[in-house]
């Protein structure tokens, strides 16, 4: 990258840094092991394990990663309704629990809970710091991921990654466009003394790479070392999915005390050696098998895992169990980061209507089939237009369709489900109503129905040049 690239202009001078509340070595010169915990891996993740993690985990950093592909777009809609909303709804509950421990233990927080409104999140955090009487605390806000104006201005030339078509061909209303920022602005925030760093959209890995780069002074073009850090980040960015969640299969993959699941911790060394572990005295498991599942989670070509900071080659990564609930990651090579940044574009694409009703007992499947026939006929009779219609038999084939293994005997219970998408709300609602009325105007002996109507917020992706994205760090000292 040329030095003139705005995304890279956030260089800082370590000698000018203000020491933060964590008791780390001089910035960039850390020799000791760095401990980074992950307190959440999606917007609605559980609150308590993060508190436990920071209370007992001897953490240098606590990271909350809460933005799935659609989360920022949904938050943008919230913000349009209420200018002070649009950040993570559980942020306050999380911070209320962890900030006193962070202050006591010298743990800094890095999070993308700012979602579509990092400034609003920072304002709310400042209020909370005062309310809790935490004393002087530096809150950094990272802005610049919102590239909606740029994308709308360049809608003729920017291409949708999935289809290759220009953005201008998108039919629905574009409500948001957010670039995945890299670690650089977060590193700058830490260098300027931030105790809490709040961002919107950024690379998930970047949230974890930023403290590593800051503490160890890793150059932002040391691709192999960054790749090692990103491999560790990839392990824990899905939170407890590396420490026992999303894994158990009784008799095959047993997880001890899953209810008391502990959240993960990375132990990072200056040379990029990393151990994945979890909070002591908790349930769950960290072993080679679950780490392998997590390493492969949501990747395409393992030789080219693209992050905003480095392209990682996982093909020579080795995982070794070095103790109970401890896995050492080695290998992992890096290549120069991509020239462009990925952008998620949120688009209002109509409405989905759904209706469900259950049949049980002898002949349940026959009655469900008759109900399907009746509802389909009524859709025709009423002239309900749907762009796509799907009918599932829950208990038989709702997740895997024709590929399902079918039982030899008819099921005792089956739940009929209709789901349809339409450009207009009215047809989606009428579909849901036609399923609802099956309870009294369809076959006999059914349960009560349920219906749902929701707006479709679809996500498309495109690439923009780094020069189009201008990250900005705002520091606030709250006393």
């Amino acid at each position: 990258m040329p030095d003139s690239d705005p995304a890279d202009r956030l260089l800082f001078n370590f000698s000018k840094c203000t020491p933060a509340m964590s008791q780390s070595d001089a910035p960039g010169m850390r020799q000791r092991t760095l401990r980074i915990g992950c307190g959440a891996s999606y917007a609605g993740d559980r609150v308590e394990p993060g508190v436990d993690l920071v209370a007992r985990g001897n953490l240098d950093y606590l990271v909350y990663e809460t933005l799935a592909e659609r989360t920022v777009a949904a938050a943008q809609l919230e913000r349009l309704k209420d200018p002070e909303a649009g950040f993570n709804e559980l942020m306050e509950a999380r911070f209320r629990g962890v900030l006193p421990h962070c202050k006591r233990n010298g743990t800094r927080i890095v999070t993308n809970m700012g979602a579509a409104n990092p400034r609003g999140a920072a304002r709310r955090t400042a209020q909370l710091i005062r309310e809790l009487g935490l004393g002087t605390t530096r809150v950094a806000t990272v802005l610049g991921d919102d590239v909606l104006d740029y994308c709308l201005r360049h809608a003729e030339t920017l291409r949708i990654m999935e289809t290759g078509q220009p953005l201008s061909t998108i039919e629905g209303e574009i409500v948001s466009a957010n670039a995945y920022l890299g670690a650089a602005p977060m590193v700058e925030a830490l260098a300027r003394g931030a105790d809490i760093v709040i961002t919107g959209r950024c690379g998930d890995c970047s949230l974890f790479l930023a403290p590593m780069m800051y503490e160890f002074g890793w150059p932002d073009d040391d691709w192999d070392t960054l790749a090692k850090g990103a491999s560790g980040a990839d392990m824990v960015e899905c939170g407890a999915n590396v420490s026992g969640a999303y894994y158990a299969d009784p008799g095959y993959k047993d997880v001890p005390d899953l209810a008391n699941l502990g959240y993960p911790i990375l132990e990072v060394e200056r040379d990029g050696a990393i151990i994945v572990t979890k909070l002591e005295g908790t349930g769950g498991v960290v072993n080679r098998a679950i780490c392998t599942e997590q390493l492969l989670y949501e990747i395409g070509d393992p030789a080219s895992y693209i992050t905003p900071d480095v392209i990682v080659d996982f093909t020579d990564v080795a995982l070794q169990e070095t103790g109970k609930d401890r896995v050492h990651i080695s290998g992992g090579r890096g290549r120069e980061r991509p020239a462009d940044l990925k952008v998620s574009i949120g688009v209002k694409e109509g409405w989905i209507g759904e209706g469900e009703i259950t049949f049980a007992g002898l002949g349940a499947l026959d009655r469900a089939r008759l109900a399907e026939h009746v509802a389909r006929e009524r859709l025709k009779i009423c002239g309900i237009h749907l762009d796509e219609l799907r009918v599932d038999y829950i208990g038989l084939n709702s997740l895997h369709g024709d590929a399902s293994l079918l039982p030899k005997e008819p099921p005792y219970e089956v739940r009929l489900r209709f789901a349809g998408r339409s450009r207009n709300r009215s047809d989606a609602t009428r579909l849901a109503n036609e399923v609802e009325t099956l309870v009294s105007k369809g076959p006999g002996m059914s349960s009560l129905p349920r219906k749902y109507v929701r707006e479709v917020l679809a996500i498309h992706s495109c690439l923009v040049p780094r020069s189009a994205v201008r990250p900005e760090v705002i520091m606030a000292e709250v006393a």
Partner: protein, 129 residues
């Protein structure tokens, strides 16, 4: 040779990006990995998933980890955010892949049965008797 469900030899986790599903399939033991390489091919996976997958299937091999990564394009009902499926992310596809049949050599079959794992055909015969 005996036929087993892939579930007896491997575990799996599925992820999503847009309209593409990826499934990591990992051998429980290194000696099972060659069997997986032989039988869990891109072609067989595409056939197993049937109408769920509308695009190509690509297989990446990670010998260090006794694992393969399967990339299934056009497998998420038009994309996670607009799919009509109850499982828009295709997370349960990891369970679907484990219902594939694999042919297991006799020595490994004995090893599996000593662990209490049963071949597919044997289970059906037992059900009849």
């Amino acid at each position: 040779m005996k036929t087993f469900y892939l579930r007896e030899l491997a575990h799996a986790r599925a992820g999503d990006k847009g309209n593409t599903s990826n499934i990591g399939v990992i051998a429980y033991e290194p000696q099972y990995f060659p069997i997986i390489l032989r039988h869990v091919t891109a072609e067989r996976v595409k056939a197993h998933f049937g109408s769920i997958v509308t695009g190509p299937v690509t297989r990446h091999v990670l010998p260090n980890l006794d694992a393969i990564n399967l990339v299934l394009e056009g497998a998420l009902g038009g994309g996670v955010t607009r799919s009509l499926s109850l499982d828009p992310h295709g997370k349960s596809y990891s369970a679907l892949i484990l219902s594939m049949h694999v042919e297991v050599p006799d020595d490994i079959a004995v090893e599996l049965m000593l662990k209490g794992r049963r071949p597919v055909a044997r289970t059906q015969e037992e059900a009849k008797s």
